[in-house]
Symmetry: C2
Subunit: 218 residues, 2 copies
């Protein structure tokens, strides 16, 4: 069984390697976990000896199949708990991440399967992120970054890329939530900001920065 700390390292390595194909670097892990490179070097040796990652000195790490399965089970727990907090306990979507960081480390397969059942086998968490199933499979739907969306095409918000409370609170304030209808009415060349109509309301400006962190689908 992995310790709380080992689980956090493994999950972080999994997220850093998502999408990309290159090895994950020591400093990247250190930055993502707010720790020091020397500490990371020790830990990746340990995870490597457990065959959860492959480590080549000075070149970084790659997650193994076994490591990925384990990481996915932690991600599954994290996202199921976030869903529980929002759907059953009426948390706001900006309040759940920190608590889920703790809850994801509870060890009980019975608990997680019963929780999944209780929630009706959800496929996405409150931020639109996919929830891996019991076998670690993820249902990925095609989505596009709002920044790159076509002008005057009706779209629906399906996920956020940045889960920071301040960003989520801002989104709530302007009416952006998962499922919300959005329409880009104009793209400002100068700074990349967008004029967007949210839920058929009067168009308002959002920054390029914000538009890069909102995912939409048709």
């Amino acid at each position: 069984m992995l310790s709380y700390t080992e689980e956090n390292y493994l999950k972080s390595i999994y997220h850093l390697s998502e999408g990309g194909t290159k090895a994950v670097l020591t400093n990247e892990i250190a930055a993502s976990l707010n720790t020091k490179a020397a500490t990371v070097t020790d830990m990746i040796k340990k995870l490597s000896s457990k065959e959860l990652i492959e480590y080549e000195k000075y070149y970084g790490v790659n997650i193994t199949k076994k490591g990925k399965q384990l990481a996915l089970s932690i991600v599954r727990k994290h996202r199921l708990w976030e869903t529980f907090l929002v759907q059953k306990l009426n948390f706001q979507w900006d309040q759940v991440h920190e608590v889920a960081e703790q809850l994801e480390h509870i060890h009980s397969s019975l608990l997680i399967e019963k929780l999944d059942e209780f929630l009706g086998h959800p496929t996405a968490d409150p931020h639109g992120h996919p929830i891996p199933d019991k076998n670690g499979r993820i249902k990925q739907e095609k989505q596009v970054v709002l920044k790159d969306a076509l002008i005057n095409k009706t779209l629906y918000v399906c996920a956020v890329r940045n889960g920071s409370p301040s960003f989520l609170q801002y989104l709530s304030k302007i009416g952006v939530q998962i499922g919300a209808k959005v329409l880009v009415t104009e793209r400002i060349e100068f700074d990349g900001s967008l004029e967007v109509s949210i839920k058929d309301n009067n168009p308002q400006l959002i920054s390029r920065e914000a538009a890069e962190n909102i995912l939409v689908k048709e």
Copy 2:
């Protein structure tokens, strides 16, 4: 903020001091936490320096007001989680303790208040143990050990004293659950075993040992 380990020691000391008035001894703590006396000595020094207990060398410890409040908040979390697992996730009463041992250490007052609300402010957990309220207050009802119950008096099971899975499974098998109607039809002098009618069924024998671990009320 207390560590996972400090919380377990404090809770254990609280439970060992419940009822009794004498100081809690090093070996009692060691036994209850499956650790060694030397380890306990170190930890009680730490808890003492945090003013959660009062420690007199060679004579044991007493929990302080501050320590008791903290212990009660952990007990509250433990019992609310057990209630959640049984009432919402359909766990059996013999499956919840181990998981609650982990869940009780999640730090989030928002979480626990919302959970309490979600469960409808329950006053007892699945084993009939009282759930302290937000302020640490416990609603104690008068109850008697089944072993000492009057003959042929209708009573209702209100709690168990021993939460081991094997005992709880045995109780489930013979129909004893919280709220079940029971009637002691005869007390066997020889070994203290009781003949008991459970839910108006034919009387059956239960051991003195079992009868000492079942609490009933009128």
